[in-house]
Each structure stands twice: as structure tokens, then as C-alpha cells.
Symmetry: C2
Subunit: 242 residues, 2 copies
DNA sequence: CGAGGGTTTGAAGTGCATCAAATAGTGTGG
DNA sequence: CCACACTATTTGATGCACTTCAAACCCTCG
């Protein structure tokens, strides 16, 4: 296993957007009981409806949030990039996790006690406000997700996914990007089968002139891709939300 | 238009779960700028991405939350019953509404200024905590919604919808219920076409022995319905969440 | 009674899933 | 560095679920 020049808990927290605005004393309190962990692909952090004790901050790698039916099917709710806080919404309601979480790319993360976070929320109103802001943002993303899964075709969902992956490279021209994780996982992230993903990507290539080489995708025209994908979405490209 | 013995703003707020725990002074502050409104079916309260000034408490009737694509398709995010607060999440982020809202059954509602709510959140930590609790609950519902739209078949989604409509009548035996609004709207609430809804309901009848008379549905066996619907869901019947 | 919206039914088409198999890619031990 | 094993990805063939378009039916309300 690769050895990291290990960031300590403090420095990881300060890098995460959610904790950026925390003052020194607050970071001290939060990181007091925190643990730095490394996990390989496949590690399950927690399961849906399990009693919640910890939230996590992802410093590197990728984490999948999912829900499993009694019949054994799985719905992927989201796949989180580095910098994210997750598991935190279990602070409320019944203190059980709303989804399961699994490492999908070798990850370094900080385990925080929910109790510590709860204390900060109750004590520090600014902290609570930041938390609410984050929750509202997630809610927007979920609204969008519901819309997408209802109205977009498979090729459009892929196009939209690629556009959001690019984020703000505002060049109108060509862009090259790498899929950050397995195509199979991208497929389930978008609510489709791997076979459908493969075919839909081929379709997208034919419709908008992408070039595909393994996990590398070159987009010749952002505008063209947006024109193809974003018609079936309620926000125009470039998507502000997220 | 029918005349109500008009409840005043105060009494409506105290009835809404969200404001139950507010003290007198707080209710005074919140209801100061509030307006009681009556609207007929079809009235649009606000649109997606519109600048937000008000939140609403629904005292009677039904409200549809929706998003519209550039192509003109519509995704119904939720249909809210009396007692709900909505439009509130626009307090955060860019202060624009995350969905449009339309009255779908003649409604009585209280219009609250977002600024007033914002002030309470910033001032009263308990209020902020209640708000976060509500936001977390909504998030759970949305996670479930994403799961359902990805994994359940149309008849299963209907079955699940009926079960949640019944809520807590814990009799194992027969239950009679009325659809609270148009079948067409139920269909779009569940992310399907009216025709599909009609056929899927017929299918459900055949599979689980329902009786259907217009908008009245008699369920002979809750267990049977749950067995049919809940296999493709991650929470067992009876659904705790919501 | 007649108009108009909601609802059902029918026929045909489309998109995605499923099952099966071929191919490409990756990491392993020799 | 090669051969093997194993996984990821693609491709093909087929089926099913849902949509679409069209028309009939039903119900309510003026």
C-alpha cells in the first residue's frame, strides 16, 4: 500500500469546504475524538438504517451512497468526491443512516463523532447555519436527480453527467476528461445497467461527436453536448447548482 | 367561492407541525408580516429558480411541487398535504426556489416572509434545530423517492403510495381509502403517464385483490399489498420514514 | 341535455433490461 | 516478458415495461 505523507486530522478538516469557516477552538473540539482512516475499495463504512455514531470527511478516493432492497437490488444515491462530509444527516430523526456507504476507490478519510458535531450545532449558531446551507444544497441536487431520472434518456443523463464533471472549464471548445471511476459504477450512479451505459455512450458519441478511448473522453463541442443533454433538464447549461 | 370561518394566521401556524414548538413571542414575530390567502386550483405560487421572498404553510388543500424542462416536460417532485411548510429551503443558497409550486386543490395557506424565518433561525438555536430536523426528514424522503423511481415497477409504486396514504391504520384486515386528488396527478406524482397509471392499477387489482370504484379503493389485505410492493424497497412495511 | 375534462382501452413503437457470449484490459506468478 | 486468470466492457439477440397516439367512455356541472 502506498504511503502517504499523512495529513493530520486538522489539516484535512480545514481543507473540506464544510469546515472552512470553523475557528481554531472549534476545529480543536471536532478533531479531538476524530480518527484518520485508510480503507481499500470495497470497504463498507455503514449500512442503511444502521444506528449512526460517526460522520466522515473524505480526503481522497470515492465513496458510494446506496440503498438495497429486500429483493437484493441496489440503487446508488450518489458517488461522492474528495472534500465531502457524509453520514451527518443521521444526527437528526432516529440517528440511523439514510443510506449505506461503501468505498469505491481507495480512500483516506476522517471519522468524526456525531456527538461532537451535534454539540457544535447546538452551541454555535453559525455552525448550524452552515450545516443548513449544506443540507439545502443537497436537497437541490436531489430534486435535480429526481427530475433527471424521470425525464432524461440514458444518453442525456450521461451527457449531463459529463458536463457536471467538467464543471467550470469555460472554454467553448474541446475538453478532455477521465472518468473518475468504473464505467459500471457510473452506470449505476446514473440509474442504468452497464450494458445500457455502453450503448448510450456510443449513441452520445454518434450524436455529439465525442471521442472515447477507454476511460478518456474528448468532447469536441461543449455547446453541442449541452444542446443535446440539457433540453430535457430544467436548468440551462452551465448548471449553477451543486 | 366558499366562505370559511377564517382561521387566523396564529391558529394555523400553531396547528402546523413545524411551528408546534414555537413560543408565543416567536409566533407573534412570525405572524406579524404573514398573510392568509385562498387560492383556487391551478394557481401558481412560484416558479423554479424564481427569486424567493415567501414561504407558505398549507392549511387545507394540496400543493404540487414541480420542475419543468426546456422541452416542456414536467417532473412532479412531491404533492404536499395540509400542514406542510414549503418554499422555506430558498432561505439558503441563492434565495431562489428549488421547484415551482402550484395549487392542485383549492387551498388555504399562510404566506410568511422568508426574512422573518431567517431572523428566527439566526436568533433562536432551537428553531434552527427544528428546521434542520425537518430538512433531514425531507432528505430521507427524497432518498427513498430516488430509490423508488429507479427500482420499483409502476404497480409497485402505486401499492407503496397507497400504503403510505393509509399511514397508521394498523388493522391487518381491509381498509377503504379515497385518492386525495386526480388520478392524473397521482400518476405524475409517481413519475408515470396517466395511461400507465390506469393499467398499473388494474394490474395491482388483479395481483393483490383490490376493489376499485372511481377514486375509492378498498384494500382487502394490507399484508398482501405490502408483500407485493415492498419487496422492491429498502424499508420494510410499515414504512417508518415520513 | 350537452360540453368538457378526467379516465379507460386499444394498437403500435421505443427504450431499457436481460441473458448470453465475445473481447479488451489488468494484475499475477512463473 | 509471457501466459493465465479474472474482471471490465462491449456486442448481439430478445423480451418486457412503459410511452405514445388515438379513440371511446364516463362523470360532473352548467
Amino acid at each position: 500500500m502506498q504511503l502517504y505523507q499523512p495529513d493530520d486530522v486538522r489539516s484535512i478538516l480545514t481543507k473540506a469546504p464544510f469546515f472552512k469557516a470553523c475557528d481554531e477552538a472549534q476545529l480543536d473540539r471536532l478533531s479531538a475524538g476524530a480518527v484518520l482512516c485508510h480503507y481499500p475499495k470495497g470497504k463498507i463504512l455503514f449500512l442503511h438504517e444502521q444506528k449512526a455514531e460517526y460522520a466522515y470527511v473524505l480526503n481522497s478516493g470515492w465513496v458510494k451512497l446506496f440503498r438495497e432492497t429486500l429483493d437484493g437490488d441496489q440503487a446508488v444515491v450518489d458517488v461522492l468526491p474528495a472534500g465531502h462530509l457524509f453520514g451527518d444527516s443521521a444526527i437528526f430523526n432516529d440517528a440511523v443512516y439514510p443510506c449505506g456507504a461503501e468505498i469505491v476507490e481507495r480512500a483516506e478519510l476522517v471519522q468524526l463523532s456525531l456527538a461532537a458535531i451535534r454539540t457544535e450545532i447546538q452551541t454555535d449558531n453559525h455552525f448550524a447555519l452552515r450545516m443548513m446551507d449544506t443540507m439545502a444544497r443537497i436537497r437541490r441536487q436531489q430534486d435535480r436527480e429526481i427530475e433527471h431520472r424521470s425525464l432524461q434518456t440514458a444518453p442525456q443523463r450521461i451527457g449531463c453527467f459529463l458536463l457536471r464533471l467538467i464543471e467550470q472549464k469555460q472554454e467553448k471548445g474541446a475538453v478532455t476528461l477521465h472518468l473518475p471511476y468504473d464505467k459500471t459504477l457510473v452506470a449505476s450512479r446514473l440509474g442504468m445497467q452497464p450494458e445500457t451505459f455502453s450503448r448510450a455512450l456510443a449513441r452520445l458519441k454518434q450524436e455529439t461527436g465525442l471521442t472515447i478511448k477507454g476511460a478518456t473522453i474528448e468532447i469536441s463541442s461543449l455547446d453541442g453536448l449541452a444542446r443535446y443533454s440539457c433540453g430535457a433538464c430544467s436548468s440551462e447549461f452551465p448548471c449553477k447548482e451543486k
